[in-house]
Amino acid sequence: MDIKNLININLIKAEIKATRKEEVIKELAELLDQNNKLNSLEVYLHDVFKREEEYTTGIGRGIAIPHGKSEGVKESCIAIGKCNDVEWDSMDGNPVKIVILIAVPLSGAQNEHLMILAKLAELLMDEEFTQNLVNSKNPEDIYRLLTGQEELAS
């Protein structure tokens, strides 16, 4: 089990044109939907936005990790978008350049998937890793960076 089970190149979008947080989340959720990862785009979005209200997912250093554990999700996965300085009410006040949208089914999520997501979360505390993410130029860069991490390929 490794991160390749959660993401593929089609779930990474290098040029998110949207400039508002809600639009960015919607664009990435639509990408999940187009790739047959959701039961209901509407239900999933509702749950992500509800989660977003609790406190910010802008974790600083240009990264945001909106997420939803939702009945609208068919299988655990992530979508990644590179955007242009989106205001996210981040913990460090900085705008967001990389958005990692996490989708997990409400029940019956595989433990292996959750484990990889936990390891990804841990990696996001590493400044070198987040710097490399923010500096990535295209989907291939991002995909290579993620799949090249030892921690995510156990």
């Binding site: 989660r51 406190y55 997420h67 554990k69 997990v104 936990a118 990804l120």
Partner: protein, 103 residues
């Protein structure tokens, strides 16, 4: 100095694990022994041994939900912060914990 900590967030997907990593890094940088238990989507992981709780100087709860089996920590000084605080500035959370037992 020895710290034990529990991290937990509402969805249990990301912040729980980021906070745990933050606290471990911050403690390590100061040469403080720390044991961090995560209560997330995979349930309790790295469960803290009762012997470690008993010998800890202070307990940190970085949580947005209830701590499972909270009674284990009953007799200890406990600092409770939001999980986001430990993600954002774990070093400051450690400071607060040390302040708590100085008094």
């Amino acid at each position: 100095m020895k710290i034990v900590a529990v991290t937990a967030c509402v969805a249990g997907l990301a912040h729980t694990y980021m906070a745990a990593t933050g606290l471990k890094k911050a403690a390590k940088a100061r040469n403080i022994e720390i044991h961090v238990e995560t209560q997330g989507s995979m349930g309790i992981q790295n469960k803290i041994k009762q012997s470690d709780i008993d010998t800890a100087d202070v307990v940190i709860f970085a949580v947005d939900t209830n701590v499972a089996h909270r009674d284990r920590f009953e007799k200890k000084p406990i600092l409770t912060v939001k999980v986001a605080e430990a993600v954002k500035n774990a070093d400051n959370v450690i400071n607060k914990a040390l302040e708590l037992i100085k008094k």
